[in-house]
């Protein structure tokens, strides 16, 4: 199993009651890469994951591991025959088994001693060797999730699929668990899918991101490309806040930097304050969140422009500031295909 194969979804659809929950989706999970599947709830992410896992049959299209067809409308290899690891939001640890036996669950083909040894190794890798005798209800949430990742990886899967694996955790725990867990996943060198509704999580953790909406994969690329070169409004929205602005509302000195279009979508970080060559604008309100200052500016009399700044001084409402625009964060995109 040294040569890991990519996991493909080729034009798969899944229809419930005449409604395509997953609609002609194609996605390739490359070995050694974490692919994030990003979208809001109801976008069909989890269903696509279940199709990959074999928990549900496909209605059209194919799921393939390398050249081998796992699901099509004529064949269906059930989940238990796929060797694809799954990680759930609720951890899904077996309550009647301790941490070590949970990890050893998928190793039933091994002898007892060997199984325990392997389980212990995996627990150690995830920093849990001291908890191996603990039962799930005695473990913290973060520990439970690490056990579930150890359990999935110990079974030597051909791929691993994670369904909102960190959203059940405390904010403070999240980072630590995520770092340990994802390091282990990357190390395994297998295709990995991370289903999430959190854009920042997807961009930070994934090598590639597929944005999904209404059962359709809108775009799939590296986080950087997606953020800076979204091909649709939906993708741009999925990755960060945007505000639409009409061309005629923008100051004329900015228009030269921008391509010809009727409306633009502007991310908050496109706005820069206090540039010497900036356009003077009146501050309506300003508020410091932790890292950034969120500012509302009066634009062309009636419209409002949202911006974010890293500066040390918070402009007071009513103050006039000089504002410039970074065109990399301004998109002119066609409206969403419906």
């Amino acid at each position: 199993m040294s040569e890991h194969l990519p996991l493909h979804a080729v034009g798969v659809s899944r229809i419930y009651d005449g409604l395509a929950v997953v609609n002609d989706a194609s996605l390739t999970l490359e070995p050694g890469k974490i692919t994030a599947l990003l979208g809001q709830s109801g976008a069909g992410k989890s269903t696509l994951l279940r199709l990959f896992a074999g928990l549900e049959p496909v209605d059209t299209g194919e799921i393939r591991l390398g050249d081998k067809t796992l699901s099509s409308n004529t064949t269906h290899l059930p989940a238990e025959g796929r060797s694809i690891g799954l990680i759930f939001q609720d951890f899904a640890l077996f309550p009647h088994l301790n941490a070590r036996d949970n990890v050893g669950f998928g190793l039933s083909q091994l002898g007892r001693a060997e199984r325990r040894k392997r389980a212990a190794e995996w627990l150690e890798r995830l920093g849990l060797s001291h908890r191996s005798r603990a039962y799930p209800h005695q473990l913290s949430g973060g520990e439970q999730q690490r056990v579930s990742i150890a359990r999935a990886l110990a079974a030597n899967p051909v791929a691993i699929l994670m369904d909102e694996p960190f959203s059940g955790l405390d904010v403070t725990l999240k980072k630590e668990v995520r770092d340990i867990a994802l390091a282990a996943v990357s190390e395994a060198g297998i295709p990995a899918l991370l289903v999430t509704h959190d854009a920042s999580e997807a961009m930070r953790d994934a090598d590639r991101i597929a944005v999904m909406r209404d059962g359709v994969i809108l775009q799939e690329d590296t986080p950087e490309t997606l953020y800076l070169k979204p091909t649709s409004l939906g993708v741009a929205r999925a990755l960060g806040p945007l505000q639409p602005v009409n061309r005629e509302d923008l100051p004329t000195e900015w228009l030269g930097q921008l391509p010809e279009a009727e409306t633009y979508c502007i991310r908050p970080e496109a706005i820069r304050f206090n540039a010497s060559d900036g356009h003077p604008m009146e501050v309506i309100s300003s508020r410091r969140t932790s890292t950034v200052i969120e500012v509302e500016l009066k634009l062309n009399g009636h419209a409002v422009l949202h911006g974010a700044d890293l500066g040390a001084r918070r402009p007071a409402p009513g103050e006039t500031v000089n504002v410039s625009l970074v065109p990399d964060f301004v998109f002119s995109l066609p409206p969403d295909p419906v």
Binding site: A92, F105, S108, H137, R151, A152, A155
Partner: protein, 540 residues
């Protein structure tokens, strides 16, 4: 001859799961179906007209009266005690926690023998009363146990533990946050009990109560001993005094209707509000220590329940048994017979319950069929099932002599009690989130392996409870055993009944005490196991 091709029936596709349920359901339901069919097609004739015009209203009213009074008493015994035991600390709490379940080991008819003797005009209670007051037996009124309230009291004593168990589980599972929120809003403990805890625990309490009431409705031993003409006793009489099994089967139909009504009420209550199980674990609820006076009151209350339902009657039987001497009675054989039957019966019932519960999780058809069959079996008193079994025997031309009768009896036991096992199993299965099964699949476990390695162990606490309840109930079973046991094969229940109805209470005490003793160990196991499960769920 030209024949028109019959239009093809829409082929009903039966999955293996549905087939399995169908077979299980037939196994469970056949005796009831046989009895009811006979009731419907067999002419009742004069006896039926006679019973309808003279007895039916009386039977029905007596049964409903007993059910109503038993409900009140069961709630009185079970709910406050469960409330205090699960959420407060008071002297003796840790003992009451498990001891309050003990009456489950004593059959209702045994409590009836003992209490009838205690309350008798020549019994210890009235003798003491006369000695103290100097009154003669004609000078005062004394409540008679040979009455509807008397029977209700006895049945409540024997069966309140069902409601106590479910209520305790529900109170323990109440989220601490809910309780604390209520307290922070200024609610007194009494208000919390009435406004928060009781509504939340109501479905669970109803479930336990329904179980107790179905047993009450089906009871024959206690009612006949106390001479209360319930439907169950009426069924026996229709059969034995009027020699009309078909009439008996018709009366059974009425009893089954009442029992189904109870089930329906229970489902309704359950539908209205269930305690949501959250994924997060509970914190150990810190039990509030009661003040000295209220602590004392609660301790006295719990002690009183235990005295009434268990200690008084059982020690009375022990006393009689010691006073008259044990004699030459060969009790080991019936003891062994009782255990054998209960083991075999609960094994089969457990198997059927697992089949019904698991396949009912596969599809809707199985769910309905399984529920219906198990419910009907449980609702029907043992006598009806035995009747059905005899009808089946006479149709098939088989003889009940020999070991075949045992097989029959085990089958009837299973038919009768599968529902009692299926309920806790089902609850335990539903507690496991679906993601567990998916996780197991992703780790390569097939359907069978998932059942053995995940579903059953996860449901283990419920499964253990289920099988213990089955075992104890079968140990106590009387009417079907009475009718179907083979030659030379007496169980303790049969002997106790035979002696007691022969007015030889002293001889009946030994088998009665032995049933209780045999049931005590499993009941204590159940109690400890449930208590521990409660603690571990609350812990962490």
């Amino acid at each position: 001859m030209q024949q028109r091709v019959a239009p093809r029936l829409p082929s009903l596709r039966l999955s293996p799961a549905a087939m399995t349920t169908l077979v299980a359901a037939l196994l469970i339901g056949a005796p009831v179906i046989a009895a009811l069919t006979t009731g419907l097609i067999g002419g009742g004739g004069q006896a039926w007209t006679h019973i309808v015009s003279t007895q039916l209203a009386g039977y029905t009213l007596a049964t409903l009266g007993v059910l109503a009074l038993t409900t009140a008493l069961v709630l009185l015994f079970a709910v406050p005690s469960a409330w205090f035991v699960s959420l407060f600390d008071f002297p003796g709490r840790s003992i009451f926690e498990w001891a309050l379940i003990l009456p489950l080991a004593a059959p209702g008819y045994v409590l009836a023998y003992a209490w009838a003797d205690i309350m008798e005009v020549g019994g210890p209670l009235q003798s003491a009363l006369r000695d103290i007051t100097g009154l003669s037996a004609r000078d005062y009124w004394f409540p008679s146990l040979y009455s509807i309230p008397g029977l209700s009291f006895v049945m409540a004593c024997a069966l309140y533990p069902y409601a106590y168990l479910t209520a305790r589980a529900a109170f323990t599972n109440l989220s601490l946050c809910t309780m604390e929120a209520a307290r922070s809003l200024g609610a007194s403990p009494f208000r919390i009990f009435i406004r928060v805890a009781l509504p939340a625990a109501r479905p669970a309490i109803f479930a336990g109560l329904a179980l107790a009431l179905m047993e009450t409705a089906a009871d024959y031993g206690a009612a006949s001993y106390l001479g209360v003409q319930t439907l169950s006793v009426g069924i026996f009489r229709a059969w034995h005094s009027f020699s009309e099994p078909a009439v008996a089967a018709r009366l059974a139909f009425l009893l089954i209707l009442i029992a189904f009504g109870l089930q329906l009420i229970e489902r309704q209550a359950r539908g209205r509000g269930t305690i949501q199980q959250t994924a997060t674990r509970w914190r150990t609820p810190k039990r509030q220590t009661l003040g000295r006076r209220s602590g004392l009151i609660v301790t006295v209350g719990c002690t009183a329940i235990l005295l009434l339902a268990f200690i008084f009657p059982v020690s009375r039987l022990v006393w009689i048994s010691m006073e008259t001497g044990i004699g030459q009675k060969a009790m080991w054989r019936p003891f062994f017979n009782s255990l054998t039957l209960a083991f075999a019966g609960s094994a089969l019932a457990f198997l059927l319950a697992v089949t019904v519960v698991i396949s009912s999780r596969q599809n809707r058809f199985s769910q309905i069929i399984g529920r219906l069959a198990a419910g009907a079996g449980y609702a029907a008193p043992g006598i009806v099932l035995a009747l059905g079994a005899l009808f089946i025997l006479s149709w098939s031309g088989l003889s009940v002599a020999g070991p075949a009768a045992l097989v029959f009896l085990v089958w009837i036991y299973a038919s009768r009690f599968t529902a009692a096992g299926a309920e806790p199993l089902n609850a335990a299965f539903s507690r496991a989130p679906a993601s567990l099964g998916n996780a197991a699949r992703s780790l390569g476990a097939n359907r069978f392996q998932r059942l053995v390695r995940v579903d059953l162990p996860v449901a283990m606490s419920g499964a253990a409870a289920a099988s213990i309840i089955l075992f104890v109930e079968m140990l106590k079973e009387l009417p079907a055993t009475l009718m179907l046991r083979p030659f030379n094969w007496d169980t303790l229940a049969v002997q106790a009944h035979a002696y007691a109805s022969d007015e030889r209470l002293a001889a009946a005490t030994l088998p009665s005490l032995m049933i209780t003793a045999a049931g005590l160990l499993p009941v204590i196991l159940l109690s400890l196991q449930l208590t521990r499960a409660g603690e571990s769920r609350a812990g962490g």
